[in-house]
Symmetry: C2
DNA sequence: CGCAACCCTTCCGCTCAGTAGAAGGCTTGC
DNA sequence: GCAAGCCTTCTACTGAGCGGAAGGGTTGCG
């Protein structure tokens, strides 16, 4: 940056992004010094940048002075098409799946070699599970993951198979040959199944949302208790939901915000002035 | 910034934030020049910064080269306690409300003088409505808004009443005196009601989620067709949901991520390398 | 088909915004 | 009472950032 930076060649932008990168699921709130350490920035530099981000509400502080991701950052992130298009289209279909099963309903996309959870519905009686909206899990051990992977290109499948595969439970399929066969069966069957491969005691069924080209744009699935009825009974409904989402995505292809009523809201995009502070959650 | 900036005194950070600010609900995707104009930055400066944001995936480009909010920005935003705490705690309660009514279920917090929608559940048969997760609507015309406002401090209520109040329908209550009385009744009754005040043909019932100090941390509510049964019949369930959320928030006060299973996921916070691109939604 | 009006991208010399050390104040804990 | 943490403010030095200029690509009109 301008000035006598110790580490030259690093842009201001990259430092700001490093500050955001300092936060993750395991570290949703951090002190200034922690941000400084995790971002690899001098304390004073961190202080200055964090102060500016806080003024914008990209970060906020709790009563102890710790920082967490702020309302404005959350608000901006929700303008992503993952939310405005995919989630918006999928939501009613997922709701129907929930009504039919009262179990965890998932919507995921592939990001790199992970399944990334875009939406999750859970009711009071669903199995508690590891997935979270905005979280990532490996593709080979999850229902939606397998549904995403099975319809991918052979190259991508090879890339996944050629890497060490994590093994969260003793039922996780990690042998490349067996996994490859499993993916073929999945493709033929039309939906993916897992049996305690991610978490002991729970199974899942999932189907891909295919685009016009036949590539997997997303996947929907259910996670249920292993002791419950055979998951295969749920498959037809899940397939219907997946196909419904696919055709609705296709139909609204040019609408950046399907299902959204544009009339009134135009005047309400900017925070109205007045006492700041959102909610009192903390 | 460093350099011969035309407009001096503006920080790099503020320019990056201005780029994010260029996007909103009405403009979820923008060309480079549009960003430049809306952010008030020279084209070349915009180009440089946008390129860096894109490398980080805070922005992404569609097939026409237009920019939209990227996966990484979405992912970071979801680390906000609005999502990780409030939404996570509220979700099962909201799901129960949905099961009981099959109508739109809302969760909102106050931000400034607006109601900010944190979560929305809608099924295939719910009334289509204007609210969206991440969106704002005025407090005086919405169910959750009135529930949030009625339990606020007299000062805040006065601030709202002293400003011009928007009038989306002819049933919107905009007379300060009447609105003040309405808020008192709401407080006494324990829940808020609207009748076609935001959208013709739909009514809503909502209850506040009160914190230990009795201040409204959030509000939950339903939006239903006006022709359906009296909304008051839903009130007890909504109150129960609101109280349930309140006590669960209190019980998990020190857990930044209630309901989340921490075991495995630690290894999965970072995007695994490999072919980028999330989903094929566009 | 030529010209105008848009886009987006790369290049590069001038310079002020950014940098980080030093210093001080405030807690917590031994 | 001192050490080890925090966080914050101040300030002088300087290279990262700025944006005009130039060029190339696409669309659309007469």
């Amino acid at each position: 940056m301008a000035g006598n930076a110790r580490e030259t060649g690093r842009t201001v932008a990259s430092r700001i992004l490093a500050i955001f990168d300092a936060f993750d699921m395991q570290h949703p709130q951090l002190s200034l010094s922690e941000i400084s350490r995790r971002a690899g920035l001098p304390l004073t530099t961190t202080h200055r940048l964090v102060t500016e981000l806080t003024r914008w509400r990209g970060l906020e502080r709790d009563e102890n002075g710790n920082y967490f991701i702020g309302l404005r950052a959350w608000e901006v992130g929700l303008l992503s098409p993952l939310h405005t298009r995919l989630r918006e289209v999928a939501q009613p279909f997922m709701q129907s799946l929930y009504e039919a099963s009262r179990e965890n309903v998932h919507l995921a996309v592939r990001d790199g070699l992970d399944a990334m959870y875009v939406e999750k519905l859970a009711g009071p009686r669903s199995v508690p599970i590891i997935s979270r909206t905005g979280g990532r899990l490996p593709m080979h051990a999850t229902g939606v993951g397998k549904a995403l992977l099975a319809w991918e290109s052979p190259e991508l499948i090879n890339t996944v198979l050629s890497r060490p595969l994590e093994r969260p439970t003793r039922y996780t399929i990690t042998a490349p040959g067996r996994l490859r066969r499993e993916l073929e069966e999945t493709r033929q069957r039309g939906y993916a199944v897992t049996r305690e491969e991610m978490t002991l005691g729970s199974c899942s069924v999932a189907a891909p949302v295919l685009d016009r080209a036949g590539a997997p744009a997303a996947a929907v699935g259910l996670v249920v208790h292993s002791v419950h009825v055979e998951p295969e009974k749920l498959a037809p409904q899940i397939r219907m939901a997946a196909d419904g989402i696919a055709s609705r995505l296709e139909a609204t292809r040019d609408d950046p915000y399907p299902g959204y009523v544009h009339d009134f809201a135009a005047n309400h995009q900017r925070p109205s002035p007045g006492t700041g502070r959102a909610g009192r959650d903390r």
